[in-house]
Structures are given as C-alpha cells and as structure tokens.
C-alpha cells in the first residue's frame, strides 16, 4: 500500500493520522502577525498529561505528531514529551523558531530523531526578520539554531510567510535557503488570530508579491492545485487531523477554533473522536465545501481551499474569503 493510498484509506475510515500538539502559548518572540491571541498559558497540560494524550493518539491510529506552540521548546517538559512520542513510534515534527537551540538542545533533538524541524524565518536580513518578531537578535539566534541542527544532520525546513514587511526580500529569502541548503516553504497568506482578531491581516503581502510566491510554487516548484470529485472531501478536517491546544482543548484542525470537540482532561480522545457532533459536522462540511466549489468551477475549484480560514474571515466556511479568491485567480492566470 503506498503512502498516498494509506492516506486515502485513513480519510475514508476517519483515522486521525496527523495531529498537532500546541504545547504552550508561551513564546520568546512577539511576531506582529502571530495567530496566537496570547503568549501565556492559563492551565497548561503537564508533561505527564501530554504523554497520556500520546498513548491515546497511538491507539486512535495517529502516525505523525507535530509539536508546536507558541514556542514548543518553552514547555518545561518538551523533551520528555518528544522522547515519549518517539518511544511510541510517532513520526515527529517540531515547529520552532530555533532561537532556543544551543548545542545541548540540538544534541537532544538529533537523538530523538524527528522527521523534521520546521523553522519560522521572517526575512533574509536581521533588520527585516527582527522587525517582524519584535525581538532584536532573533534572526542571528535562529540562524545559529539552524546551523546546530544541520551540523547534526537533522532535516530542517525553512518556513516563511510572505508579508508586507519582507516581500522586497523574496529573492534573498530564496538565496538564504539555498545557502543554508534547506528546503523553503513560503506561505502567501497571513491568517487572523485564533480568537478572530483580524489585525494580522494588515501585514498581508501585495498582490504582486503573492503572484511571485505562487509562481514559485510556494517553494516547491509547482503551482498549487487540487482535483475534486463530487462527494469527496475538501480536506482532512474531521477525518484525518486533530489539534490540541496547550490547555487540552481538542479541535478538528489547527485553524478550526469555532468550537472544541472537547477537552482531554474531561473526555477520552477516542470517545471525542467517535461521538463528537462537532467532528461529524465538520467532516460533513468538508464534503459540502468540496461539492460547492466543484459546482462553481473555474479558478476557485482548482486551488486548495481552507474552510477554516474562510470561516474566520467571512463567518461561513462555504463562502470563500477574499485572500483565497485572489490566490485562486492568480494561480489560474499563471496556469493559462
């Protein structure tokens, strides 16, 4: 069975193959467009509580666990959780700003080992990057962290959202990833905060910059596209993905914060996954979205769509948001 076929079967069976664990809201950066509404935890899950969650996820059929935040390395039990994930044979991804990675931390990450470490970089220069993070010295700290990981053969992915602050550095950002010898993933979209605050959108890149990024294939080399068939799912929400925040609230995906499925402190994950009307509703919504876009046809039907982001911006997951419309139109122009 190929990995693609496995993913398709998991989608059909509703098996949460991919899960994001938001270990903490705490972060040592203050990115001006951050989607997190706060930088502190009210009742953070302990390491032991996260490890119990990992046991439940293993039994539910999860393969890939991403540790994220906030800055996940800021969780005091980060390595106990990460090691427990690997002992349970999860494919482990770490989303970090890399600034807390010294030699000891790099050694411990390399020993896990993770499937990959994905590092947020917001510019090709310290001036641009540090302005975005509101943290002087953050660019140099991140570069040092990346170098320490690469010296230990840890796979690193550089992730950069293109914004009004860094769009003049797109070529240099590509050059930086080339110099580091790491793949680059550029995101043409800034998202609202998880609490619905739209302030981050003011940092959205210009249409020209978004066009350039999409033409680059967001770093992958090909223009993003999606194929739809009637009755298919738009995405894995409610079937393939789960996200759990620092306080144990469970969501059907990282972006869908409308209503939690439940909380791991109150309900076993399997019961949530099997019985939650929220999960069933979003799974059905994913099919509804797919069919609606298929019916519309044209540019909107062929570009990957996120109903959660549409929900944040339009209040209706079936109503495409303006930024999606713009990206879909640009992609169609580039294909023609």
């Amino acid at each position: 069975m190929s990995s693609w076929h496995s993913k398709l079967r998991a989608l059909q069976l509703a098996q949460p193959l991919t899960v994001q664990l938001e270990l903490t809201y705490a972060c040592n950066w203050r990115c001006v467009f951050c989607y997190n509404p706060r930088h502190f935890d009210r009742a953070r899950l302990s390491g032991d509580e996260w490890i119990a969650v990992l046991d439940e996820l293993r039994a539910l059929g999860t393969l890939t666990v991403a540790l994220t935040g906030g800055e996940p390395l800021a969780h005091p039990d980060f390595f106990a959780i990460a090691r427990a994930a690997r002992e349970r044979h999860f494919a482990l991804r770490i989303f970090t700003n890399a600034s807390l990675i010294d030699d000891d931390v790099a050694d411990q990450i390399a020993a896990l080992p993770p499937l990959g470490v994905e590092v947020s970089i917001h510019g090709a220069s310290a001036a641009v990057h540090d302005a975005a993070t509101a943290k002087p010295g953050s660019f140099d700290a991140a570069m040092h962290g990346i170098e320490k990981l690469l010296a230990r053969n840890v796979p690193v992915l550089m992730k950069t959202p293109v914004t009004s602050m860094n769009e003049h550095e797109i070529d240099d950002i590509v050059g930086l990833s080339d110099r580091l010898g790491v793949p680059l993933q550029i995101d043409p979209h800034i998202t609202p905060r998880d609490d619905g605050n739209l302030d981050p959108l003011q940092y959205g890149a210009s249409r020209d910059a978004i066009r350039r990024v999409i033409a680059m294939g967001l770093g992958s080399g090909s223009i993003p596209s999606t194929e739809r068939t009637k009755g298919g799912a738009n995405c894995g929400i409610g079937r393939l993905t789960l996200a759990i925040d620092a306080e144990g609230n469970v969501f059907p995906c990282m972006q869908w914060r409308v209503r939690p499925i439940g909380n791991v402190r109150e309900t076993p994950l399997r019961a949530m996954w099997q019985d939650s009307p929220v999960r069933r509703d979003v799974a059905a919504m994913s099919v509804e979205v797919n069919d609606a876009l298929l019916e519309r046809g044209g540019a909107l039907a062929t570009y990957p769509f996120c109903p959660a982001l549409a929900m944040q911006e339009t209040g209706d997951p079936l109503v495409p948001d303006q930024s999606f419309r713009a990206r879909a139109e640009i992609a169609a122009e580039l294909r023609s």
């Binding site: 069975m1 190929s2 990995s3 999860t62 044979h89 080992p113 993770p114 499937l115």
Partner: protein, 90 residues
C-alpha cells in the same frame, strides 16, 4: 535473530496494513497483511523462530513457506535498516 524496530523508524497501522516511515530518508513503505503481522511481532523479544511459528498459526501456511517468508521479510527490513538486532542496541 531477535529483531527490534530501528531507532529511525515511525509506523502505524491503517486498515490492517502497516505504514513504515524511514526517518533517515523520509521514505515510506506499506506492508501487506502478512508482513504487517510479522512487523507486529517485532518487539525485541520474539526471535525469528517464534515469528515463524506465529505466522504458521495465523495464516495456516506450511512451515517451509513460513520459514522462507519470515527470513525474506527480516532480511528486507534489515537491509532497509528498519530493524536491528535487539542485542546490538540493548
């Protein structure tokens, strides 16, 4: 040999078949049901002979076929460094 899963491996079962990820290369392979059964026996305690016996019991194959299939499976997994000898990594 008494195999155990290698340190650079992640895996899970989907629809009765194992997906095995080689973290060193990022490559993923899928195992058929018989191979998945053998994979599930790999725990650092069951040796090759015990795995062969378990395969006979589960799939009602001849001892010769089970021995050959178990050996071929373990050789292939070892060649891909997805398993290691339990004693080596103890």
């Amino acid at each position: 040999m008494t195999p155990k899963i290698g340190p650079q491996v992640a895996w899970q079962i989907v629809d009765g078949e194992a997906i095995v990820v080689d973290l060193a290369s990022g490559n993923t392979i899928g195992l058929n049901p018989a191979a998945t059964f053998l994979w599930s026996q790999i725990d650092g305690n069951h040796d090759e002979s015990q795995m062969t016996t378990a395969l006979i019991d589960e799939f009602e194959v001849s001892p010769a076929d089970a021995e050959r299939d178990t050996r071929a499976f373990l050789d292939e997994m070892k060649r891909r460094t997805l398993i290691v000898e339990a004693a080596e990594s103890a």
